[in-house]
Amino acid sequence: MSSSLPITVTVNGRERRLDVAPNETLLAVLRERLSLTGTKKSCGEGECGACTVLVDGRAVNSCLMLAVEADGRDVLTIEGLASGDELHPLQEAFLEAGAVQCGFCTPGMIMSAVALLATNPDPTPAEAKEALCGSLCRCTGYVRIIRAVLDAAPRMRPVGNGTHN
């Protein structure tokens, strides 16, 4: 027990050593310490999904996780998806489908979709909606968001001449 706790966490493939306060959330550490502001803070209570990141490959609300709980874990944020100038297939699909309006919910939506497609490479529309139901879009652009996820799915499957993983 102390007021400052050392943690080691892998963020977007890079190991980070940090001293965190017990009451710092993972969200706060990502945004304010690591300047990874793609992950958004909104409701702060797990209702809106804007803060969604992957921890050990699973979508979680980073506002409901203490930073110290991420000790030893692998965290992936929206910043970790593109490689250089090459966007992730989901990012491309969101742009193409016009699934980005104000953009605030987009990182959370995309991270939820990344987790979905990693375990279910060929989701039905209903499965895509269920996977994204923890993310709110107040521009109400859901139709195009779901279309983007379904468009991205075949591009991410390791078949045919796909160039992505």
């Binding site: 027990m1 102390s2 007021s3 706790l5 306060a21 017990p22 009451n23 959330t25 702060g44 209570e45 797990g46 209702e47 999904g49 969604t52 699973r58 979508a59 979680v60 609300n61 506002c63 409901l64 996780m65 203490l66 110290v68 709980e69 939820s112 987790a115 979905l116 269920e130 996977a131 139901c133 923890g134 993310s135």
Partner: protein, 285 residues
């Protein structure tokens, strides 16, 4: 969030000892989807948070053990909802676990946490009641096992004594063929608390167990037995029997639903759950 001390014990004994020593100053943390929200809102302000996720004896697994399916205290709701043995043998629990919150919530929230939080509307409580679950506890005086129907004492209150922790939940494998189902009414399909929820288990001999959530200060289990439950007919006799079973409920009016509406919907959900449970009874003869 206010400041607090953080402890990450590695054994059940250490975790329990900390909780005893710090009493009401301490809060146990598993998934955190209730506790961290409460702390963010200032509804709870523990001086010490005891993180249970690195306690070696607390598992996140689901395994067959002594005639039961044992769900470890750290098993998250998404894993419970997706587990093939839960879906096959205890579908009402899989259905309930799968409608709580969102994927993000279910990836963190635990089954044990859902019952320890003891919300009258907890979706996993009615299924655990109809399945006759046993809650395995570890505490300063050792281990004990509490039937789920004795676990809930009131809103936010459980049979857990000072320093006691839930170690696992056992779902006894049924002796004969049964069918079961979970039904829930909420204001919208995703991300909402239940206005009312009902779980049902029907045996091939006509033994019916119904459990109601958000219908009183604790989830309520009622039982009856009769040929009438096995027949796929909406007779007055069946209606009267179900009505009688629902008399144990004491719903209130709140932001999610009025008392009368809850009573009416409990009747509807009971019938739906029974019909689904009956359809799921394995074909006999």
């Amino acid at each position: 969030m206010q400041s607090f001390d953080y402890a990450r014990p590695s054994s059940l004994a250490d975790a329990s000892e900390l909780l005893v020593r710090r009493g009401d100053d301490a809060a146990a943390l598993a998934g955190g989807t209730d506790l961290i929200v409460q702390m963010e809102k200032g509804a709870r302000a523990p001086a010490l948070v005891v993180d249970l996720k690195r306690v070696a004896d607390l598992g996140d697994g689901i395994e067959r053990r002594d005639g039961a399916l044992r769900i470890g205290a750290l098993a998250c709701l998404e894993d419970v909802a997706r587990d093939a043995r839960v879906r096959e043998g205890f579908p009402a629990l899989a259905e309930a676990a799968g409608v709580i919150g969102s994927v993000q919530i279910r990836n963190r929230a635990t089954l044990a946490g859902n019952i320890c939080n003891a919300s009258p509307a907890a979706d996993t409580a009615p299924p655990l009641l109809v399945y006759g679950a046993q809650v395995n506890l570890f505490g300063p005086r050792g281990r004990r096992s509490v039937p789920i129907e004795e676990f809930f004492l009131g809103p936010g209150r459980t049979a857990l004594e000072a320093g006691e922790l839930t170690e696992s939940v056992d779902l006894p494998l049924p002796n004969g063929p049964t069918g079961s189902a979970f039904c829930r009414l909420a204001r919208r399909r995703g991300m909402d608390l239940a206005s009312v929820n009902v779980a049902c288990r029907l045996s091939a001999a006509g033994e019916l167990r119904l459990a109601f959530g958000a219908a009183g200060p604790t989830p309520i289990l009622v039982q009856d037995e009769g040929e009438v439950f096995l027949k796929d007919e909406a007779t007055d006799a069946l209606g009267a029997r179900l009505e009688q079973m629902a008399e144990a409920t004491r719903p209130i009016s709140d932001v999610r639903a009025g008392e009368d509406y809850r009573r009416a919907m409990l009747r509807v959900l009971s019938r739906r759950a029974l019909n689904t449970a009956r359809r799921r009874l394995p074909e006999s003869e």
